[in-house]
């Protein structure tokens, strides 16, 4: 029988998986690796109670017996889920669909290719099928209560060892879930300028902060703020791109935003082709004014 197992890496994964499970149209269970159980409409929620996510080699091996019997094994797309689930696919010698944005049928999925320049339909001919999906592309229906709840103890032995982890520990909203995202590019010059201009504006509006690869490479912004083909994918109600040229690779991460606003000094910047609202102007004068206007 066909059944989906959602592997929830963190506390929010289970709730954001409901839309995908609904689109797939299969009954589903949740394996909650860290964090507590939340309403997700799952048949059974199994809590693994891990304190943190262990290295992929050990975790994928420990998951192997728990995924037996499921036709679909899926998680919201993240660097963490791609790391572990592709290793699991290798162990199971099965196929994988990364970054699903649509379900055609339980064996056919849509996903972006070439930095989102095109959408491919992927036909799957294996069992089980492993999937990471982008929650922003699926419905946000409120999830119903779960059926049963149980716990399992995962016995993880990894060859790799985690020595340390540094998180910028921002008090700001999470990029991939924020309702408003303000991003800055290369013209922000240095980290202090970026923090005061982009960070200050974001805090005034309760927004998350994003950046281009050029800004990250130049040491202007932290790597976990990178939005795009090889960074995070965002889908806020409002995306403000300040001093961003609009490369294909950056646009790949912001296409699903409801309203894209571009502020750029160059009237020919490609970002204006993709933006819903564009203003030619200097971000250093526009952003403070815009902040005042929006707060009124």
């Amino acid at each position: 029988m066909s059944k989906l197992l959602v592997i929830a890496f963190d506390a929010t994964d289970a709730a954001t998986s409901f839309g995908f499970a609904h689109a797939l149209g299969l009954p589903f269970d949740v394996l909650q690796l860290t964090g507590l159980s939340v309403p997700s409409g799952a048949g059974t929620v199994t809590l693994a109670n891990l304190g943190s996510i262990p290295p992929a080699d050990g975790l994928a091996k420990a998951l192997q017996p728990l995924v037996a019997g499921y036709s679909h094994i899926a998680s919201p797309s993240s660097m963490g889920s791609k790391d572990v689930l592709a290793y699991l696919a290798g162990l199971l010698d099965t196929g994988m669909v990364t970054d699903a944005i649509g379900v055609v049928s339980p064996t056919e999925f849509k996903r972006p290719i070439y930095a989102g320049a095109m959408t491919a339909t992927i036909k799957v001919n294996c069992d089980p099928i492993i999937i990471t999906f982008r929650p922003g592309n699926f419905g946000k229906d409120a999830a119903s209560a779960n059926g049963n709840e149980s716990t399992t103890s995962l016995n993880v032995t990894s060859q790799a060892t985690i020595l340390s982890e540094s998180s910028k520990g921002s008090a700001r909203p999470d990029l991939s879930q924020a309702a408003i995202v303000v991003s800055g590019g290369r013209p922000l010059k240095d980290a202090a300028t970026f923090e005061s201009v982009i960070g200050g504006f974001a805090d005034a509006l309760g927004a998350a902060v994003g950046a281009t690869r050029a800004a990250v490479d130049a040491g202007i912004a932290a790597n976990d703020l990178q939005v795009g083909q090889t960074g995070k994918v965002v889908a806020p109600n409002l995306y403000i791109a300040a001093g961003i040229s609009g490369s294909t690779q950056h646009m790949a991460g912001i296409k699903d935003s409801k309203l894209i606003v571009a502020i750029n000094t160059d009237t020919n910047a490609p970002i204006f082709d993709a933006a819903d609202l564009g203003l030619v102007g200097d971000l250093f004068t526009v952003l403070p004014e815009l902040q005042r206007e929006l707060k009124q």
Partner: protein
């Protein structure tokens, strides 16, 4: 220590590509091809490890048609010692590529496999992990810094919330992120010199039938054309009017 670096031939990431008229695939006629940028970073990292005296030999490998020779030659010019082309004209998915690479890894017995985290054409982000799993090796994906001491690697990885440092016993698979290094520019003499380096072509013996295949390619829905506003006041009003705030 021997390093194995798998590389993929991809359409130039800055080129504009479109679906074929019948929607059956991607139209790459006339396109320029390059080494997948992430794989080029892996080649560069391998060469730096050799320059530091840590690696002794760098073997680059590609799976695909005879055209992949161009990208292997470029990798040799960057500084790899030897190239292998596993020739096949079959349409390959990630499990099939991982299976072919794992055969090469077993035969070559490298101390480390360095490769890109994803290819900029299919954006799959799968082969490195699948290969590590098939070999039963540990992995460090999304590497931003790699240090090798004796028989272990210390890797700074990019993770969703920042950075993580992991220690791996070797052999292992490391996949590269953009910030690991900036590949060197190879001047013409280097490319010419690389022509004398060994490049071995072997037919792919058995290719797995694909578990996933592309049945259609289309353009994503386009956004309705945007609007230019003339002032900050107009911009703020339009944002409010759209209920985005």
């Amino acid at each position: 220590m021997k390093l194995l670096v798998p590389i993929k031939r991809v359409v130039d990431p800055y080129a504009k590509v479109r679906p074929l008229a019948d929607g059956s695939g991607v139209d790459t006629t006339g396109a320029k091809f390059e080494i997948n940028p992430f794989d080029e970073i892996a080649v560069e990292e391998a060469v730096r490890l050799k320059e530091k005296g840590i690696a002794t030999e760098i073997v680059v490998v590609s799976v695909g048609g005879p055209q992949c020779e161009d990208q292997l030659r470029k990798a040799l010019a960057i500084g790899a010692d030897r190239a292998i082309l596993i020739e096949t004209d079959a349409v390959l998915d990630s499990p099939a590529v991982a299976a072919l690479l794992s055969d090469v890894a077993l035969a070559e017995a490298p101390g480390l496999i360095l490769m890109g985290k994803q290819a900029t054409d299919d954006d799959c982000n799968q082969v490195g992990q699948m290969l590590a799993a098939k070999l039963g090796w540990p992995q460090a994906t999304f590497a931003a810094k790699v240090e090798i001491t004796g028989n272990s690697a210390q890797v700074t990885r990019e993770i969703d919330s920042g950075e993580q440092v992991v220690a791996l016993p070797l052999p292992a698979v490391i996949t590269t992120d953009l910030r690991l290094n900036e590949p060197r520019y190879v001047a013409l003499p280097g490319i010419i010199k690389a022509r004398s380096k060994p490049l071995e072509k072997r037919p792919a013996t058995s290719v797995q039938s694909p578990k996933t295949s592309v049945s259609a390619v289309e353009l994503p829905p386009t956004r309705p054309p945007g609007r230019r506003v003339g002032s900050v006041q107009e911009l703020a009003a339009a944002i409010k009017e759209r209920g985005a705030i």
